[in-house]
Amino acid sequence: MSRIGVFVCGCGENIARTVDVEAVASRVAEIPGVACAMSYKYMCSDPGQGMIREKIKSERLDGVVIASCSPHMHLKTFRKAAQAAGLNSYLVEVANIREQCSWVHSDRTAATSKAVELIRMSVAKVRNDKALQSTRVPITSRALVIGGGVAGIQAALDIADSGHEVVLVERAPSIGGKMAGLSETFPTLDCSQCILTPRMVEVGQHPRIKLYSYSEVEAVEGFIGNFKIKIRQKARYVDMSKCTGCGDCWTSCPLKKNPSEFDYAMGNRTAIYIPFPQAIPARPVIDKEQCNRLKKGKGCGICEKKCKQGAINYNDEDKFVEESVGAIVVATGFGLYDISKVQDKAGQSGYGEYGYGKYQDVIDSLQFERLVSASGPTGGVLKRPSDGEIPKNVVFISCVGSRDNAKGVPYCSKICCMYTAKHTMLYKHKVHDGQAHVFYMDIRSGGKGYDEFVRRAIEEDGAKYYRGRVSKITLEKNGKLVVRGADTLAGMPVTIEADLVVLATAMRPASGVEQLAQKLHVGYDQYGFLLESHPKLRPVETNVAGVFIAGAAHSPKDIPESVAQASAAASKVQIILSSDYVTREPEVANIAEQICAACYACANACPYNAIERAEVRTPRGVFVKNTARVNPVLCMGCGTCVSICPSKSADLQGTSDQQIYAMLESLL
């Protein structure tokens, strides 16, 4: 016969008002197996917990039921109290008689009876509880950061500065991301490169940061504290150990007309190139699609001849390296919605009416950034792409693709209102006699100093704002772009003859993020943005323990938000890396391997990839059968495998089928 203690809490008046807690205590004392039952005003208080501890010892209790608020509130509190008194904490159950009884009922007699029944079920459950031990796993005290934009840089530096090694993987030839290409930043108009490049140099020189540029994460195995990462180092055709970054190769390359990725095709680069002068690492790569030598296998070879270090290697190939890490930050950033015709997602159809890709002087916002950047292809002089003229009328169109259920994405890209206001200012500061026009749906400028900034663009720099959409842009013979739209506040159609049109296109996650998320088993939404574990309370955690997210890979974000989130992710990583072990709750699934039919329905259903295919062998190593096996470190105890298992071999420790049946039976 078990010896179970039942402790009924009055929760001040919260429970006691509707439930007669004293009557409950005396009635549940009659349930077989219950050794003692009592009520108290505040069971979670120090005296309340003291009462539990004292009774566990004096009554030699082997199970405890607390009838109180939701287990989400205080299960941990009561488990700790039990443990302090020498009782295994998994032999403590909570019967929720507040949220599920007193708060939702008014009939005192009926509510009191229901409380008794709820406790009766918990007693049945605790009688079938087993003492469980939490799992402890050693930790590899290093982190992986995927993506070397401002979020990845911030996360890497924070983790490295706290004393842990960081592996930073960036798929482009240089770190810096989108921010390295921006001209000036809102709301202070400080130069983007001036504030970012020192951080990039820090990354490059940090003794605890191992940078893999021009590399991608190929495969991920393992679990929190013990990830194994396979990294593909793409062939650079330049030996990084020999190259000094002198520039003899790219200044002598004869192929100078390749559209520069960094300038979003607003400028050109050579076939062997560094993306921009401040690149980290400041080592070139050869574009194998463009280089004549690599395409034909012979000829040219000028860069090889020019290189005094002998660093050019035309026979370079992709290399694979493995790294072990204990935690991962995903900071893969964003790309832009494709406003031209060809779309990669169903339901998106581009904006043929704006003629992007057809009219040279219709550009997107990142292209505009390059045209006004001091380090841009025009040296900071705003020249329009078609003929190099300085545009006297520029039309900015916001929400191109954003907030558009018909053709684009339904969400707000959040940063466009601000950078469009910034664009109008930068334009006015460069072209004093020019006029900026903005078509907008709403101005969303929440943030420190943000609305003031937009007001400045309108009031001091004279940007004309029209609340309405543009229906069509046509190109006239004189080279003018005729922009026709509506001013819904004035109730008038507006026609503007523009020299340049800038489209504030919607933000989307960077390409390839879905494949990466699949490798990591991290959830993502229908647009490819990575999913956080809880939108409010766990904003940088993912559904996978030890994997965190930062920056625009999660949702459209500006620089301050990305940096803040990166630091948050870094601190979560530090929590893991600063301990020697990671502790995992033992309330996880377990598979009875002798009866498992090895159909692996559970392995396919498991959202955490916690079930592996394994073999049952005798102690001498003779093969007996195949089986599914739960990795208790990865399992989150959701129970999906239990419900899907056709042979009933999967069970959840702490909430077994047997316990559920016992609870139901106790009610009959």
Binding site: Y351, G352, E353, G355, K358, T474, L475, E476, K477, V482
Partner: protein
């Protein structure tokens, strides 16, 4: 090839030159048009501004009549007619709507006949066949293809070409050897029925279209809509008077140009019945 033909009011009335052109041109391609028995008005703009159910029932009846005759394809040369038919065809995918409309029009609507416009009909004939049938390449034609508003819109109903930057007419004309220009007003509004209510509006819109086509080097316009033809051809003299600019721009139906390439005469195609008849091509 036999195709169900829904002429609508225009092709039997004010735009019977369009019908003449179609019959001649398609006949030369061995496409026989069989008029749908008992067709009625498509509802045009009048019906849907008065009564939504009426605007569905009128084209529904026409669709049912065509399906009763077993046509797999129903050709409606007027874009407004074809849009109305397509609208109903889309709506009857909902079984409840289909049953209700069938009851209203006292005929079973299945919604399985394909509704096609003139461009689609030519594309169904095939670019290769068209190329092979050319007897008189249109070297001297430099046309601006004008699609107007309804041929491609609303895109969810029309489901044809790119409604902002269409290219299908250009592809067709290239096949019969005509040059086309890239211009800006391919899908702008011509003013349509406003020609009766507000002539000023139509003259202004037609002027912009004619002027932009001319600016981009076109010597003629090509349309696939009776209403567009009226506003650009019949009203052209009024436009010229109002804006003091001579265009003398022949406005062809698409079937006119294809017909000319197939060796038909201007008279056979009814081009001589247009208002602007100044031949822009020396040898025709």
């Amino acid at each position: 090839m036999k195709v169900g033909y829904y002429p609508g009011c225009a092709l039997h009335g004010s735009s019977n030159d369009y019908e003449q052109s179609l019959v001649a041109c398609l006949g030369a391609l061995d496409v026989k048009l069989k008029e749908v028995d008992g067709w009625i008005c498509c509802g045009a703009t009048a019906a849907h501004s008065l009564n939504s159910k009426l605007s569905m029932a009128l084209p529904a009846r026409n669709l049912a009549m065509a399906e009763k005759e077993g046509f797999r394809e129903l050709f409606a040369p007027c874009p407004l007619c074809s849009m109305q038919l397509l609208k109903v065809r889309e709506a009857v995918k909902d079984e409840a709507v289909r049953q209700e409309l069938s009851e209203v029009v006292e005929a079973e609507i299945r919604g399985d006949a394909q509704v096609i416009n003139l461009i689609q009909l030519f594309l169904n004939v095939g670019l290769d066949r068209l190329k092979a049938a050319v007897k008189q390449p249109l070297d001297s034609v430099t046309a601006a293809c004008y699609y107007g508003c309804l041929l491609l819109r609303p895109p969810k109903i029309a489901k044809f070409d790119d409604c902002e930057q269409p290219t299908s007419m250009e592809t067709l004309l290239a096949a019969v050897g005509a040059k086309t220009v890239d211009w800006s007003y391919k899908t702008e509004c011509c003013g349509a029925g406003m020609t009766m209510a507000s002539e000023d509006t139509v003259l202004n819109l037609a002027y912009k279209i004619l002027d932009n086509a001319r600016e981009h080097g076109a010597t003629s316009l090509v349309v696939a809509c009776p209403m567009c033809h009226i506003n650009l051809d019949m009203k052209q003299a009024a436009v010229e008077r109002r804006y003091g600019k001579q265009f003398n721009m022949t406005v062809y139906y698409l079937s006119d140009l294809v017909g000319l390439a197939l060796g038909l005469s201007r008279e056979q195609l009814g081009i001589d019945r247009h208002f602007v008849t100044e031949p822009m091509m020396g040898n025709h």
